[in-house]
């Protein structure tokens, strides 16, 4: 019996397994890709043709879908961005996130945001909404407000092209159990997408939503409407300006009364981690907890640095290598020496910033270029390990050795 139901996304991107050589279509696909790579010396036919397609469709990008900006609204530190994704975009499951990409001064700047609107909005009107917390020094949000907002207001939103990646993420509802949803700040966005996509609810759901100050509360109208529609949905608002933060005691009775409950945590990384530990301490099974965290450790540091705080000696570095993830802390000097001190063996050459042999994908975090003093963008980008010094927590992807 389905306890609640959400519409099934029609165009949802199913995980396509290119390595699947058993099926004939998989084999043919692999063969086609190989032929393209041999004939064109490029990763795919579409990436080979992209520059030419751009002569006709300037907003075409091989690995992104173009999206039209329909509306942009500002609400106390948040931006609501309503987009109409192009036909190449393949839909989403509520709770998933997308990468939003803007080309700022020739640079592709991308950030990950959860989709905050319902699946119905996409299915009926072809729209999705992203709810973005404004960062005081954020490159992306300031660009949105500075360039995109005036363009939208003037009725020429296409003058600032916006691109989307396919929706990804496994932070989605499983349609079986009662739910406990804990959200803090903009962590409410995927949960709003989940709940507002629900069409029938037959099991109790408790949502506890923490925010700082009443004006920071998102989707106020939507919550009222959902509560009137679904008697089984309980929502508790925690305004941390008025009362103390949420404590384990607040959810203990719920956990006891609903032993089959699935927990969903979404908020800044510290919130999600804290609550994961607290729930485990309450005796909740780890497999019942789903969590999604966001927010960069970088931003608090930038703010602290602006306030003249002293730079910490060492930052956590998360290293992803094929399927493994390892955490180390940075030492004095470059990231290359930190990695080597921790036993990694990244490739390198000149060790003085000339040869690009140690070039590495940074997924997030701030680094300073020791040669030029340049400070990187917080989002994804390429860095040279030998001349990069971390200024925040950093996440790197190393090629598998």
């Amino acid at each position: 019996m389905t306890k609640f139901s959400t519409p099934v996304p029609s165009l949802n991107q199913l995980p396509v397994c290119h390595q699947n050589t058993k099926s004939i279509s998989g084999l043919l696909r692999q063969c086609w890709r190989w032929c393209c790579q041999v004939a064109l010396v490029q990763p795919s036919l579409v990436s080979y043709l992209e520059p030419l397609i751009r002569l006709v469709l300037p907003n075409f990008r091989a690995q992104w879908s173009h999206a039209r900006v329909v509306d942009i609204q500002q609400q106390a530190g948040f931006i609501h961005l309503t987009l109409r994704p192009g036909r190449r975009w393949r839909g989403f499951i509520p709770g998933q996130h997308v990468q939003l990409m803007l080309e700022i001064n020739g640079r592709a700047i991308s950030r990950i945001f959860s989709i905050s609107s319902s699946l119905q909005l996409f299915q009926q009107q072809g729209l999705i909404r992203l709810t973005i917390q404004q960062q005081s020094k954020g490159l992306m949000t300031s660009h949105l407000m500075q360039w995109l907002k005036p363009a939208v207001d003037a009725g020429t939103p296409s003058s600032v092209p916006v691109h989307l990646s396919a929706a990804t993420g496994s932070f989605v509802l499983q349609q079986q159990q009662p739910l406990l949803l804990l959200a803090a700040g903009s962590g409410i966005t995927p949960i709003h997408a989940m709940l507002s996509s629900v069409t029938r609810l037959t099991q109790p759901v408790l949502l506890i939503y923490s925010f700082r100050g009443a004006e920071q509360m998102l989707f106020a109208e939507s919550w009222r409407e959902l509560q009137s529609r679904f008697p089984l949905l309980q929502i508790q608002f925690v305004d941390t300006n008025l009362r103390q933060r949420l404590q384990p005691g607040d959810v203990e009775t719920w956990c006891k009364s609903q032993p089959q409950c699935q927990m969903y945590l979404c908020g800044p990384s510290r919130f999600s981690l804290d609550w994961q530990n607290k729930l485990l301490a309450l005796g909740v099974d780890a497999s019942a907890i789903q969590q999604e965290s966001f927010g960069l450790a970088a931003v608090p540091f930038l703010v602290a640095a602006a306030a003249g705080a002293e730079k910490p000696e060492s930052f956590p570095i998360e290293i992803r290598q094929s399927t493994q993830v390892r955490n180390i802390s940075s030492t004095q000097g470059s990231l290359l020496s930190s990695l080597e001190a921790a036993g990694f063996n990244p490739s390198y050459g000149c060790r003085r910033g000339i040869c690009m042999q140690c070039l590495c994908q940074k997924n997030q975090g701030l680094v300073r270029n020791l040669l030029t003093g340049e400070i990187s963008d917080v989002g994804p980008g390429m860095i040279q390990l030998c001349i990069s010094q971390p200024l925040s927590a950093v996440e790197l992807s190393l090629p598998s050795s």
Binding site: G106, G349, I354, M382
Partner: protein, 424 residues
């Protein structure tokens, strides 16, 4: 031939100590036009006749470039780089896009025109030229520069130095190791920069003369004809994968098996593409298309090798002894890059087809700045060179190329002086 160098180094160091008194003033005279300017360095007491010294012109250059001079030079060049880096942005990415578009149009139309050779051989000839143009653009202005990481600022999914692959027999990663690392870090250091003579040509008296050097002008033409395979085999030669004994002091981060896989994998795919896949796709035009592809590859080989030889093998450029890179400061590195490279002039299209390697000096000073900026940087770099009394080697393409041929011929014959590399 590199094995012989160690003993020569000993000699080199002993001799160069005696030669430190070369005046910096001599340096600027070397740019005055003559390929082999007779100059006052000849007055230094080394016991050789003026002709000999003038001929092995590398000798004239380097007096000691002091650490203070070097840091002043570094400050000027760093300031220039940083000002240019601030300007880098959408203009550069638009430029790269335009060049890639041009490359795609040339490649597609070239391959189609060759098939149209079915109706008229003129179409076929035009197709060959277009395909050669596409390959030259792909290798020089796109591949070389993208693989240097010049356009990494764009965060582009495939026009970046980590994932780009080019239409040449050489595997991009292998080329990055030998070119970006060895050649750009140890530019023109005898025994460390294998690009200096490619282990085939004797371009300075620091190398022992051997019989095969007497016909090295023919070796050069052969290398030029097979250039893409030379580039592709370059790293394997350095690692002594098939021939020779491993060098004890060589640190390699990659195994011979990986090298072989990359060499045969990439080379095989290229052969498959040009000599089987596209000819098969052209049906009855199989053989004309095969021949056309061969010709296009040949034209590209000649063009790229000619351009590349003009960058470091003109008679003006300096070579260095291996001790210069021990604890080398940034200023001295800059200094070495300026003396070790040569520019040539020409119309705009010529610069584009050379991948802006016509601005070899700017490229060697700032290998990670977009090549699109080099022409704009050139006069400023020349001014800085003048200010610091450093030679700025430049000349017309024809003059530079003749001077390369002259150098190849000159060092075909044994020299009396076995040590000419400067040790700064």
């Amino acid at each position: 031939m590199n094995e012989r160098i160690n003993s020569l180094q000993q000699l080199a160091m002993a001799d160069s100590v005696a030669n430190h008194s070369h005046a910096d003033a001599d340096i600027s005279s070397s740019q005055s036009g003559e390929p082999f300017p007779a100059n006052s360095a000849a007055t230094v007491h080394t016991g050789h006749s003026i002709q000999e010294i003038a001929a092995s012109n590398v000798r004239q250059q380097t007096g000691r470039f002091s650490e203070a001079q070097a840091s002043a030079l570094a400050a000027d060049l760093d300031a220039l780089a940083s000002a240019t880096r601030d300007e880098v942005g959408s203009a550069d990415s638009r430029y790269l896009l335009k060049i890639v578009q041009l490359q795609r149009v040339a490649a597609i139309s070239g391959r189609l025109l060759m098939v149209a050779g079915f109706w008229s051989a003129w179409w076929w000839g035009l197709g060959v030229l277009f395909l050669a143009l596409a390959k030259i653009l792909d290798n020089m202005e796109i591949g070389h520069n993208v693989l240097h990481g010049q356009y990494d600022f764009m965060n582009h999914p495939y026009l970046n130095s980590r994932t780009f692959e080019w239409d040449i027999a050489c595997d991009a990663k292998s080329w990055q190791r030998t070119h970006n690392y060895e050649h750009h870090t140890y530019t023109n250091i005898i025994g460390k920069d294998r690009d200096f003579g490619y282990g085939l040509l004797r371009l300075s008296d620091d190398f022992r003369w051997r019989l095969q050097n007497s016909w090295q002008i023919l070796t050069y033409f052969l290398l030029s004809t097979l250039f893409q395979w030379g580039v592709s085999y370059h790293e394997m030669a350095a690692e002594r994968v098939f021939f020779g004994r491993k060098k004890a002091d060589r640190v390699s981060q990659i195994s011979d098996a990986q090298l072989k896989k990359a060499f045969f994998g990439k080379g095989g795919r290229q052969l498959l593409k040009d000599y089987l896949l596209f000819p098969l796709l052209s049906g009855p035009m199989f053989f004309p298309v095969l021949a056309g592809n061969f010709l296009a590859n040949l034209l590209r080989n000649w063009w790229t090798s000619t351009i590349i030889f003009c960058g470091h093998f003109t008679s003006q450029v300096h070579v260095f002894t291996p001790d210069v890179c021990v604890n080398e400061s940034r200023g001295h590195w800059y200094y070495r890059q300026m003396l070790g490279s040569a520019n040539f002039t020409g119309p705009r299209w010529f610069h584009i087809l050379s991948g802006h390697l016509s601005c070899q000096i700017e490229h060697h000073l700032f290998p990670d700045l977009p090549a699109y900026r080099y022409l704009q940087l050139a006069p400023q770099v020349a001014a800085i060179a003048k200010k610091h009394g450093i030679a700025y080697h430049s000349g017309s393409f024809v003059r530079q190329y003749l001077s390369v041929l002259q150098r190849i011929l000159r060092f075909s014959l044994p020299g009396h002086d076995r040590q000419v590399a400067s040790n700064m």
